[in-house]
Structures are given as C-alpha cells and as structure tokens.
Symmetry: C2
Amino acid sequence: MNDLHQMAHDARVAAWTLAASDIAQRNAALLAMAEELEASKNDIFAANQIDLVQAEQDQLAAPLLARLKFADEKLAAVTAGLRALADLPDPIGQTTISRELTEGLKMYRVTCPIGVIGVIFESRPDALVQIASLALKSGNTVLLKGGREALNTNRVLCQALRTAAEKVGLPADFAQLLETREDVAAMLKEDELIDLIIPRGSNAFVRYIMDNSRIPVLGHADGICHVYVDKAADLNMAVNIAVDSKTQNVAVCNAMETLLVHRDVASAYLPKLLPALEAKNVKVLGDEATQAIIPVLPATDEDWATEYLDYTLSIRVVDSLDTAIDHINRYGSGHTDCIVSTDEAAAQAFLTRVDSAGVYHNVSTRFADGFVYGFGAEVGIATGKIHARGPMGLEGLTTYKYKLLGSGQLMAEMKNGTRHYTHVLLNEDCPL
Amino acid sequence: MNDLHQMAHDARVAAWTLAASDIAQRNAALLAMAEELEASKNDIFAANQIDLVQAEQDQLAAPLLARLKFADEKLAAVTAGLRALADLPDPIGQTTISRELTEGLKMYRVTCPIGVIGVIFESRPDALVQIASLALKSGNTVLLKGGREALNTNRVLCQALRTAAEKVGLPADFAQLLETREDVAAMLKEDELIDLIIPRGSNAFVRYIMDNSRIPVLGHADGICHVYVDKAADLNMAVNIAVDSKTQNVAVCNAMETLLVHRDVASAYLPKLLPALEAKNVKVLGDEATQAIIPVLPATDEDWATEYLDYTLSIRVVDSLDTAIDHINRYGSGHTDCIVSTDEAAAQAFLTRVDSAGVYHNVSTRFADGFVYGFGAEVGIATGKIHARGPMGLEGLTTYKYKLLGSGQLMAEMKNGTRHYTHVLLNEDCPL
C-alpha cells in the first residue's frame, strides 16, 4: 500500500473502470457505503476513541477535538448525506452542446470524469466520506490524505467505503488513503497519473503545493471576507449581518474578518455595533477614524490581510463605495464579500466590481457553502478563478469531451467546397 | 512600456474597467478594430515586409514564411473574423444557475471575465488579433508575446487594436505586447496580478511555463492524434480518413501521427492504404506486423510518442479494440483520436474509454478546431482537463461569481430553525 507510484497507477486503472460505469452502479455503491458504515460503527467509534485519547494527550484545542470526534450524530449525518447524494442526477454523460457541423456530422460536448484526484484535507473524518463519495458519484478516483490526528478513524472509514464499492462490483481502489507527509510529496510528482490536486488549508500550504507540482491545483485557501456598510444601509440589518458574519462560527473560512463602514454613517452605526460585538466577546480593532468614534484598539495594515479565525474583528472607515471595493480587491482573498445597502445602484456596482467568488447584497457571509447553495455537498471552496470557483460540488469534479459522429467527412472536402459548414444547433443527447 | 510589473498592473486596472463595461461598447470596439486595421493596412504590410525580409535572410522554412506573411488575404480574414465576433452573444453576465435559498434570499451564478491573461503564441500575426479580440469580447485584458520573427508586424497590429479600443472609450491597455524572453520570465512571477497563462507551443515549452509559475496554466501542447481502423471498418472510408488526417495539413496539432489497425483487417487494408499515402509523399514506418504486410521502415517505441508535424506516419497492428484504446491512452496527448468502424458498440467503447478532448467516430481528426466546432474562433486547443478542454473559445475565457441577493438573512436563523432552506430553482436572470 505504501508505494505511492503504485497507488497512483492503481487509481488510474480504477478510473478507467469508473469512467465507463453506469449511474445505477455508482448509486448502488453510495447506498452500500451507508450500510457498510452503519455495520462497521463499532469499529469506527473504537478507532475514533484511540484518535481522541491521543489528541487529548497532545492537548488539542477544544474546537479541534469536537471536529475530530466521530460518534452516532456524525455517522447519521454522513449516511444521510450518502443517501441524498445517491438521489442527485448523474453529473457525467450529460450533453451540454449538440450541433450539426456539416451534413451527416454531429458534434456533442458530453461531461465526463476528470480521472484521478488527490485531496488533502483537515482533521475531520466526515470530510473523508464526503470527498470520496462525491468523487465516486462523478466517476473519479481519489487519493486521500487527512489530518494525522484522525488516522485511525480514517483507516476504518476508508476501508468500509472500499468494501462497499467492491460489493457492487466497482474497484476498491476508487479511494486510497495516504498516511504520511512523504506520501504527499511523492503524490505531487505523479503528474502523468494524477489529474488534479485539491489542497484544503492555509494560503502558505496551498502555495507549497503549487510550487512543488506540475499537476493543476484548485486551491481552497484563506477566507478574508468583508462586510461593507454603505451610507444608505439599514443600520439595524447591518448590525445583525456583521454580528452573524463575525460570530456565528469564527473558525470557518466564510466568517468576516474586516468590516468597512462608510464615513457618512460611521458615527450612527459604530456605537450601535460595539455593544452587540462585546456581548459576543469580540475583540475589536479599528483605524484612526474608527478609534475617534468608539473605544477600540488600533488596527494596522497587517490586520487588513489577516484571517483571524477567532473572536477578533478589524474595522476601517472608508470615504466611498469605490474605496471599499478597492480595499476588498486589494486585501481580500476572493472568497465572499457583502454590501449592506438599500441603494440598488451601489449594490450593483459592488457585485460587478468586487472580484470574489461570492458577492452578497444584504446577507451574512456565512451562507457561502455548497450545501447552502443546494449542491448537496462540497469538496471545498475554490478561491481561484480557473475551472471551479466558490463552493465546488459534483459539477466541479467533471470535465467534458467532444464526441464527433461522422460518416467519413474529410477536411479536404470542406476546403475544396464539396461540403459546407451548417452549424445547426441540435438540442439532443449524444447517442454514443 | 518595458517594466513588466507595471504592465501587469496596468492590465489589472484595465481589467476592472472591462469587467464593468457593457457589451455594446465591447462590440463597438471590435468593429472599430476592423476599421482601424483597414485604415492602417499600409503600415501593417510595410512592417510585415521588414519581418519577411529578415526571416528570409534567417532562412526560415517555406511553411513558416507563409504563416508569417500578412497581406490583403489575411487582413480580409482577420477583419471578417472581428465583425463575426461582434455578432456573437455576450459571454459575460449570463445567469447559469438561479435558486431561492430561503425566503427572500436568491442565489445567481453569473458568468464574468477571468481578468488578466498572458498568452504566448507562435509566429502568426493574425493570431495576435484573434486572441486580443476574443479577450476583449469576454471582458478580459491580455499580455501578448508573439514569435520574435513577427515582432514588427505585431507592434503595428497591437497599436491599431489599442487605438480602436480607446476610440470607443475602453482602455488601450486591454492589450499589451511583450517583446522579449525576459518579459515572459518576468510575467510568470506576477501571480498576484495575472490570473491565467495560455502557452501555445511544444510540450517542453508548456512544462517550462508550468515549472516556473504559480499562475494557472492552460497548456496547448503536442497533438499526437490517432486513427484506429477497427475490424468492422469500411476500408475505403478508412483510407480516405487516414490520408486526410495525415496529409491535409501536416504542420498542425490535429494531424494524425500514428495509425492503429486491427489485425483482422490489416492485410486487406494496408495494401490499399500504402499507394494513397505514397501519392502524397508520406514516409511510412511500421511495427513488425505492418512490415510483414507492406514494405515500410521499422517504427520504434519512440515513434509512438513522437509528434512529427511532417509527412511521416507510424503504423501499428493491434490485436483488439482494447489494445488500441490502451495504446492511445498511453502514448497519445489527449488531443483528438478517431475510430473508423461500422460497429456501434465498438465506437461507443472507444468514445467512452479514450481519455482525449476529441473522440471521433468516422471523421477526420482535422475537424478539431474552434471555428469548425462553431465557436467563432479559438484561443488554442487545451490538452489538459481542467477549466477548458479542446478548442477554447469565448466560454473558456470566462469564470463566474455567485451573487446572493438577500434582505438581512442570518446563519443563526437557519441554525435555530427560525428559517428553513427552500432550494427552489428559479430559472430567471440576475437583476443586479
């Protein structure tokens, strides 16, 4: 199991089978996974107990321990997720363009799996099941590297998923578990066998992956999210959105890190906001204009570029909508940014010109999530612009191929005028 | 002009303007470009003459000289292309998903430009106009590096396009010309300012780019295309498709490099094919089984991985459809591959299991082209699987953002049950 090159090769071979599998078989595998996980629950919980005991000895922080724990509640959520995924339509084999090119020659663009995907994720064992099941549903195979704190749990979970796949006649090697950092380093070199790497982690980690691999990388990095309170904002709504965006869950990438406030409403808004933040124990930093209105600690340029992931907020007063947009495009991470305003023109300018995956009008940044968007689940949230952007679900795990069905057409005939391009849209599914 | 960092910065600033521009203005710019090129024809042709004289002194091969030449015929094609592009629908601002998430909160996925794109292309001056105009239509800005043989022509062309953009009120810096290899090396470092690099060239060149940049790369590399003649093929059709795929234009990436023939038809097919290839002066190489049937030179393993771009063809006799598919997935470049067969089941297996951007049934590989596919034009043909695959037109130059239009929705309300997800598909355009 530990020769990474062999594992990548096995994943590639399994990918050929998955690409040619039908959706009934892939859905049967998802249902078998739910059953296999339920049947293995004692083994899973026992393995998780070992991880938890070790993590407590290592003095892991309480929120991390909570994420690591895998008991009845998480199992129920995970198996419900698998059964819901089985109900979603097949993302592959979908015809997205159909066109007659010339008489008797039809072109179809048809979705297909990407192939072999390497995913590196944090210490949350339920993430393993989510990622592996999304991959199988979309006909891909995965090499999975989870957090080392969850290794015992991940081993049992991955084995259960592999067993379930085999029970319905699909290759167990659709999912393989990497166990060490050396495995990850070796995986990055397999650009002939692996089609895509999805790292979930810090900006520095994603950059390390990009710098050390020729394999395309879809980065899921920092979330430096902003709320901008416009001069035309409903200030009560702006307080509620700011508090929710900052405090509903501080440890996630779609939490707000910096609040921007238009100068015209700053003295009315900030004194309303401060007690609401203090009630949630938020440490507030501000620029000079903010400090002139409410008693807060000074914020520096470094704060604008910091993802706190904690009960800390930096506030800047801005002179205009343009300054707010410039600030976000300069310091933000392209994740999710919100304008609170009753002025539709201001909202439109913000939504058009802020260069982020999520641009929100009058709604908490915490809504940036694949389940919330109706995608079933997500492999991560992409902060780049290529391929998939924002919450990445099944569609992001597919590519497409052009299928041309002809009857002997030659380019020489097109060039000498024997045949002509018709370019008629067909609106039909590819028969092959 | 020569400080690359400043150029990239100017491109980024221009990209903000382009992203907020309307389609009427972008189309007006395309029409103005056609007029400006026609008005500048004497300057263009004179500059091209300087490039041609130098290229002749440098003993450039005849096909390359033909590609470099820019006279009345090319000008007419280029201006016709610009006017046709102005007629195509706007690729940006298109709503591709619309959904109510919870009462009063609507999500829209809306296409938008990628931003700043670096394109490195070969010595064909008309490519500069095609790439720059596709970028402008899709709201992007470009840094362009053409072949050094075309430098004088490219300077005049690029200046004409910049003048035309300014005349309709769009930033001239939507297109900027790089002139040296040092500029390219410097461009690869600007990952904060440039969103995508599109290199058109050899595999080795694309790998060099990938190894030296954090910027996402959409590679347009080798085309090692195959035709597979199945045991159930119409042999006359198979002769015509093989000859067209090999010889209609040998210097292009969609030309066939290796022919695979099923053993059952090899002795009937190869003696029919050979004279047709010889009539076109094709040098034929073959494996031992081929040599046993027709008098050809031996082909080695290296031949299977070679893009000749010339009047040379390697032939291999295979025992089965599976062997043909394995050969293509092992030695091919994922560009375009064709099966000639009257057996629909064999065709379906080939189209499903060959892992290439184009999978063809009974049609010449020469049809792999953005214009042929009805995309208007192409920036290149992507051989990777991420983002765009195959001929890459306007759609490949776009990404999307999620616009959420709310009325104060909070995640705390979703978690405490005050609100519920509705996830109703809306099928409407985003109003902002």
